[in-house]
């Protein structure tokens, strides 16, 4: 694939675009104020990829390299990152769910024992997408890279330029919040 790209193979480029355009748009959107600016940042990234592919040395995975270009472009296109907003939940689970001894006040639902239909991934896709959009940007960035795109923690840290510890805190809050949203919808299916 890399060799084809270096040779300027058009089909290789198109297949790359088909694979990464939407994931990159989703990530870019967490940095910039509008879809139009996100699209520009992604387009800039493709240009940067085409121009830089000769110099890509394979020290990181191609995906990490590509997402890093994107994050750099998106950041300079207009960041909307801000220090942790006070509305970000500090608890993985609403404290009201625990009794005075810190134990669950009510039993926790076992999702896995439910019908397969309830855990049909395709059916949950729209819910997950909407829930991701509701996450604060920095949490969303980490969850997108780690859980949606499947990057390792080192790769996600390299893409975002954050520490492993910081990444873990953001991942924890992001995943906790996604779980809570899923839980609120599970009962209704």
């Amino acid at each position: 694939m890399l060799a084809l790209l270096r040779d300027g193979d058009e089909e290789a480029f198109v297949s790359l675009v088909s694979r990464y355009q939407q994931p990159m748009l989703r990530l870019a959107r967490s940095f910039v104020p509008s879809q139009a600016v996100a699209e520009e940042a992604v387009q800039d990234t493709w240009l940067g990829m085409v121009r830089g592919i000769e110099r890509f040395e394979g020290r990181s995975s191609f995906k990490t390299w590509l997402f890093r270009i994107l994050v750099n472009r998106a950041r300079s296109a207009g960041t909307r990152e801000h220090p942790a907003a006070p509305t970000e939940p500090l608890h993985a689970v609403d404290p009201a769910r625990f009794n005075d001894q810190g134990q669950w006040a009510d039993p926790v639902d076992r999702w896995i024992e439910e019908s397969e239909q309830r855990l049909d991934a395709a059916a949950w896709s729209p819910v997950l997408k909407a829930a991701l959009e509701d996450l604060p940007p920095r949490q969303r960035q980490v969850v997108l890279l780690r859980d949606v795109e499947g990057l390792s923690n080192e790769e996600a840290c390299a893409v975002l330029g954050i520490s492993v510890g910081n990444q873990r805190v953001l991942l924890h809050r992001g995943r906790s919040q996604l779980r809570e949203i899923l839980e609120s919808k599970m009962g209704k299916r």
């Binding site: 480029f13 088909s18 608890h91 625990f98 810190g102 855990l119 896709s125 899923l182």
Partner: protein, 84 residues
């Protein structure tokens, strides 16, 4: 994330340790306490399972296909870049 001063952890502490646990970031001692808590607590076991399912579902988000128009626009851009 939390310092565990007491021998046993309670559910409210356990839920804050799940990510560190899944990331392999707990000290050996904290991991043992966490796992001991899970063995004794069906609720927290179910909770960890919910988090795992959340991760699975996030990984299964379907990437919507590009419209043929968007694909052709990018193809044209690429041709332009190659000519430069």
């Amino acid at each position: 994330m939390l310092s565990l001063r007491h021998k046993d952890i309670v559910c409210q502490q356990a839920v804050e340790l799940v990510t560190d646990y899944l990331e392999g970031a707990l000290s050996r001692r904290d991991r043992r306490r966490f796992e001991a808590h899970l063995r004794a607590c069906p609720n927290c076991t179910a909770y960890v399972e919910q988090i795992r399912i959340t991760i699975l579902l996030a990984g299964a988000i379907d990437a919507e296909d590009l419209t043929p128009k968007a694909r052709e626009e990018l193809r044209d851009l690429y041709r332009g870049w190659r000519r430069e």
